[in-house]
């Protein structure tokens, strides 16, 4: 460690790892609050270190590198366990440890009395460690260590309550779908090595900048990275694992499956910004995958009935917005939305956790309603989150979403790849976002209570240890937006902060009046969406959609637009078939067939008979004979030479 306080942040992942080790090995011997206190403590400490590094980073042009030890020093690769702390990684560290610390504290209440209390906190700490490695890594290889590490933690936590078969199934699905994406990461690295001869992020980016604009190799690498990102960040066509992942404890959904891990794909693209800025084709793939995912998931979210699945599809959709941002080259905007989304989506998940906790496990929004009376604080914070994600002016989501819309509209990188259409897709998705979130809030907290008798007796506001994190996140859901005010009229902090760590892509910003008009359009989208939800679900009590809700379209949407069934038919079935066929081939044809043909042919059969009598002794004899033959041949040859 040097005297530079920025480099001290390298301790943050080690601290979390330490917490995971202690809780993993000795947690069962500690009494209840202590594993939780330890786990929360190391993450808070990590947050303090990140904050210190952030505060002392100053106006540096390049980041601080910390090499801990050598990792793969082979074949021209000079890879270390080394961290690169710059504007981008420090901001991500703040999100991970900040939201992480709040969710650890919240979990103290949520997991109270659970049999796997220490195991839970061990896995959560391990996740923080892996996620920090992911965002701090100075090479793609080390990033991949964190990348698969968070996948393993996600697997452990989705299947945390492993006794019911449903949860392990969801965990398995998440792990395998992620591994499919991970092969994209691996192949991208192999191709980087072939093209640039290095896997260090800074070197790859520098080499990519010097490469021909739009070169095929860059496009291939970019598309493969996007495959990896689609797996981790639940984008088309690999999004299917995230809704099922809601089987995990709700704080896990908030931390891993909303605020941090699923944004790793966006981070990966932003981290590789110079490469993507050189390849409009790869960037177009990123943006279009994001745009289509945003629209599709928003549509599907409208039909969901599980309080957490609505939010899961919402996360998929919002991640789509982020991919559009980094796809059109507005890297700081993508990360800005990662930040605001981490606050309001983390908040929304925690409020839904508070609801589930208060109702004793109820998750169906059709059996909720009117909860504002019983859980005023939860309802208030949920309202803030809902309005923030819907894009109501002056809240965080408004600013970040508006920036995405503006930069899509003004894109020059994707001018030939349908940026205009993409803008329309996003505007429609934004309207739907306001509608499904309005529906979510109204069905849960407003109107007449539709609780089961059982739940009605139990309903209560959550303890302070859970509501305080809600309040903090609600405040953040308002305030973080002011870090990135529209640059044409206001001071903007985040864009110049992130620019040196990513890349600068040109945009054709419209005239001032048009920028105001775009903001007006975005606000209009929000108003239409919210008003629609208000009219349908509060004024008309859902009557206008009652027929629709039992129709075929709604059933289709509720099933996630049929992706699971399609994959079962088109991928899982054939894969299992291949596996069975190969297993049969291996046993019946290769093994029995080969053995039979060998043992039935005359000479060999007799040889086998011979061998069967005292197998080992004969073998020893055969070996001896062999050795003698060897000697003989060699000596003979030696003599002749």
């Amino acid at each position: 460690m040097t005297g530079d306080p920025v480099s001290w942040a390298a301790l943050a992942p080690l601290l979390a790892l330490f917490g995971a080790l202690v809780n993993g090995m000795f947690g069962r011997r500690l009494r209840e609050p202590w594993p939780g206190y330890l786990a929360s403590g190391v993450v808070v400490l990590g947050f303090v270190l990140s904050l210190l590094a952030f505060a002392t980073f100053g106006q540096r042009e390049v980041g601080v590198s910390v090499r801990l030890w050598e990792f793969l020093p082979v074949a021209g690769l000079d890879l270390a366990v080394g961290f690169h702390l710059d504007q981008l990684s420090l901001l991500m560290m703040l999100i991970v440890t900040g939201v992480g610390a709040l969710i650890h504290v919240y979990s103290l209440g949520y997991m109270h009395g659970d049999g796997g209390y220490a195991r839970y906190f061990a896995a959560l700490n391990l996740f923080i460690a892996a996620m920090l490695v992911l965002v701090m890594a100075d090479s793609y290889l080390l990033m991949f260590v964190g990348w698969e590490g968070v996948g393993v933690c996600s697997f452990l936590l989705i299947g945390f309550w492993y006794r019911q078969q449903r949860n392990p199934d969801a965990a398995r699905k998440a792990f395998i779908v992620n591994r499919i994406g991970d092969t994209g990461f691996l192949l991208a690295m192999f191709l980087m090595y072939r093209t640039f001869g290095t896997l260090t992020i800074a070197d790859v980016n520098a080499a990519a900048t010097a490469f021909a604009f739009g070169a095929g190799a860059l496009t291939s690498i970019g598309v493969l990275l996007m495959l990896a990102a689609a797996g981790k960040s639940a984008q088309l066509p690999l999004h299917v694992w995230l809704p099922d992942a809601m089987a995990g404890p709700t704080p896990v959904s908030a931390l891993i499956h909303a605020a941090t891990m699923v944004t790793a794909g966006v981070y990966l693209i932003a981290r590789s910004a110079p490469l993507f800025a050189q390849s409009p084709d790869a960037s177009a793939v990123v943006a279009w995958v994001g745009g289509l995912t945003a629209l599709l998931a928003a549509l599907v979210a409208l039909a969901q009935t599980d309080i957490k699945r609505i939010l899961a599809y919402s996360t998929i959709s919002q991640l789509g917005f982020m991919f559009v941002a980094v796809g059109v080259g507005a890297y700081w905007v993508g990360i800005f939305h990662v930040l605001t989304h981490a606050c309001f989506k983390g908040l929304l998940f925690l409020t839904s956790g508070s609801v589930i906790h208060g109702l004793g496990g109820e998750q169906d929004v059709r059996r909720m309603g009117g909860l504002r009376r019983f859980m005023p604080l939860t309802a208030l914070t949920a309202l803030v989150g809902t309005l923030a994600i819907a894009g109501v002016p002056l809240l965080a989501g408004f600013f970040s979403k508006d920036a995405i819309l503006l930069h899509t509209f003004a894109s020059t990188l994707l001018a030939d790849h349908g940026a205009g259409v993409l803008y329309g897709v996003l505007l429609l998705s934004a309207t739907l976002t306001a509608a499904y979130m309005g529906r979510w809030y109204l069905l849960v907290f407003e109107g007449e209570p539709r609780l089961s008798v059982e739940a009605r007796g139990k309903v209560h506001e959550s303890p302070r240890v859970m509501t305080v994190p809600l309040l903090v996140l609600a405040a953040a859901s308002v305030l973080t937006g002011y870090l990135g005010l529209p640059a044409f009229a206001f001071p903007n902090w985040i864009a110049p902060w992130l620019e040196p760590a990513t890349a600068t892509v040109g945009f054709a910003y419209p005239p001032l009046w048009a920028e105001w008009l775009l903001i007006g359009a975005a606000v209009l989208a929000t108003v239409i969406g919210l008003a629609l939800a208000w009219w349908v679900y509060l004024v008309q009590r859902g009557v206008p959609v009652a027929r629709l809700a039992s129709g075929r379209l709604a059933t289709f949407a509720r099933s996630g637009a049929g992706f699971d069934a399609l994959y079962q038919q088109a991928v899982v079935g054939p894969a299992e078939g291949t596996s069975v066929a190969l297993a049969v081939l291996d046993r019946d044809v290769l093994d029995r067939g080969l053995a039979a043909s060998v043992t039935t042919t005359g000479v060999l059969a007799r040889g086998v008979m011979l061998l069967q009598t005292g197998l080992v002794r004969n073998y020893a004899l055969a070996m001896l004979v062999g050795a003698v033959v060897l000697l003989f041949v060699v000596v003979l040859a030696g003599v002749r030479a």
Binding site: P73, G159, Q165, I176, R179, A210, T578, V598, A627, L631
Partner: protein, 490 residues
């Protein structure tokens, strides 16, 4: 002389054990012997090489060099043998002394095989080590061991015969001073392409059987299924999958032209084997058969790394070979512990054991996930470099082999969940003190190899560089230059 001691010590312990009457004294001798052999191995890296004339007429030497790739593998193998001996000494109930004697014979043979720098000496240890593995299967195997033994023997003899001819022919044909590696290396460069290809084919057949590669792999499956349920013999078998080492240390550097001729075919075969094994493993319900197919898949990856003929892949292949000794070996030890609890290898008779045996579950998760290549754990550095190297030679082979990574995820997660998640029929005991002691070195090595691969990789790279140099001198440039500058913008 330390390296000679390392080879001799286990062999001496083995012979003493053969004449030990009581089980108790056999155990004590085995424990002391194992500890001594392990300590010798861990002090080995600093010791000097040895070269003593052996059979002057043949040009054979007793030559050991612990500073090479084999030295690293010898150390890892010893680290795995230590807990295996301890486990076997308490889990094998019939004829314990002889079982342990066979294990020590295996140990000594492996040390000789890894450290030998003379081809005749290497061949002698190669063949010698077959004996204890046969004895273990034949003496302590399950009901259908005869069939398994027969199959194993047939494959082994075919391979050995090919190797014997090659060994006999290579020195006279090349006109080398002796069978020492350095002498052979200096001479074989002069062999013409056709001769090299034939000689390489002889080596390749022997090593492909032992790797094993598809379609020569079937002995491996039955071998594991029928071995003693403690899993100790399976560990010995796992350490004995030295075909990749033979290719790396002997066939590739000595016969670069032959290697270049055969590489495309064997690269494709390796990639296919990797995916084939992993895909079939996903369907297995017998724990040991599953592990055997998984192991086959790892060996495919080793082959893929070798036949990419790239510096990264060659080094990675050896690293993976060492790492899988720990992880596959560890999984076989765990299979013995599981069998001790439920008396079955059918994964259907397990489930939900994470509740009653959380520590066992945690160790299994660690070792199993290491073996499917999760980064930060033992197999990953080798697997990554092997695939990276293969991809540089052929994108298609690289992509095919990468599918194995997905399939490994499937069988790994399936296995863990079938054993430890879901409802639990009856509770089982968590790790016992003996099991903790047995697993401790495995866990430590899994983390050590996963987190600090650099020193071992440097040793492997130094050896691999010899091969790459030979390839470059043999003619055309190797597979692909690391940096293509063609598209650099002005």
């Amino acid at each position: 002389m330390m390296s000679v001691l390392l080879v001799l010590l286990p062999l001496v312990v083995a012979s003493v054990l053969l004449f030990t009457r009581t089980v108790r004294s056999a155990r004590v001798i085995a424990w002391i012997g194992a500890l001594a052999a392990f300590v010798t191995a861990s002090l080995l890296s600093g010791s000097a090489s040895v070269q003593i004339p052996w059979i002057p007429g043949v040009g054979a030497y007793i030559a050991f060099d612990p500073g090479q790739a084999g030295g690293v593998l010898a150390l890892i193998a010893s680290l795995v043998m230590l807990p295996t001996v301890l486990w076997a000494s308490l889990r094998v109930e019939t004829d314990t002394g002889r079982f342990l004697a066979a294990l020590f014979a295996m140990w000594g043979g492996l040390m000789g095989l890894f450290l030998a720098r003379d081809l005749v000496l290497f061949y002698v240890f190669w063949e010698f080590t077959l004996l204890p593995s046969l004895v273990l299967l034949g003496g302590w195997g399950l009901a259908q061991r005869r069939q398994a033994l027969l199959k194993y023997l047939l494959y082994a003899i075919a391979g050995s015969f090919a190797m014997l001819l090659t060994v006999a022919a290579i020195r006279p044909l090349a006109g080398a001073e002796s069978y020492l590696f350095d002498d052979l290396l200096a001479a074989t460069a002069n062999l013409d392409g056709l001769t090299q290809t034939w000689l390489f084919a002889g080596f390749a057949l022997a090593f492909a059987v032992k790797l094993p590669l598809f379609p020569l792999h079937h002995w491996l499956i039955d071998f594991h299924e029928q071995n003693h349920p403690s899993g100790a013999a399976d560990v010995a078998g796992t350490l004995y999958k030295v075909g990749g080492f033979g290719l790396f240390a002997w066939a590739l550097p000595l016969l670069p032209e032959g290697a270049r001729q055969a590489a495309p075919l064997l690269l494709a075969l390796g990639a296919f084997t990797a995916t084939y094994g992993a895909v079939i493993a996903a369907r297995q319900h017998h724990l040991k058969r599953l592990l055997a197919y998984a192991s086959l898949s790892h060996m495919g990856l080793v082959a893929v790394g070798l036949f990419g003929l790239h510096l990264a892949g060659l080094s990675g292949a050896m690293y993976l070979l060492g790492a899988q000794m720990v992880t596959t070996g560890g999984m076989f030890l765990l299979s013995g512990m599981l069998h001790a609890r439920r008396g079955s290898f059918d994964t259907g008779s397990y489930g939900g054991m994470a509740a009653s045996a959380p520590a066992l579950a945690a160790v299994t998760l660690l070792v199993l996930f290491a073996s499917i290549g999760v980064p930060g754990l033992a197999n990953f550095p080798g697997e990554f470099l092997a695939l990276l190297g293969a991809f540089q030679a052929s994108s298609a082979a690289g992509v095919l082999a990468v599918i194995a990574v997905i399939a490994a995820g499937v069988y790994g997660v399936n296995l863990y969940q079938r054993l430890y998640q879901g409802p639990e029929p009856t509770p089982v005991a968590d790790l016992r003190p003996l099991e903790v002691v047995v697993l401790a070195p495995i866990v430590a090595a899994t983390l050590w190899l996963g987190l600090a691969p650099a020193p071992q990789l440097r040793t492997f790279e130094a050896d691999a560089t010899v091969t790459i140099t030979q390839l470059q001198q043999a003619g055309a440039p190797p597979a692909a230059p690391p940096v293509a500058l063609g598209e650099v913008r002005r």
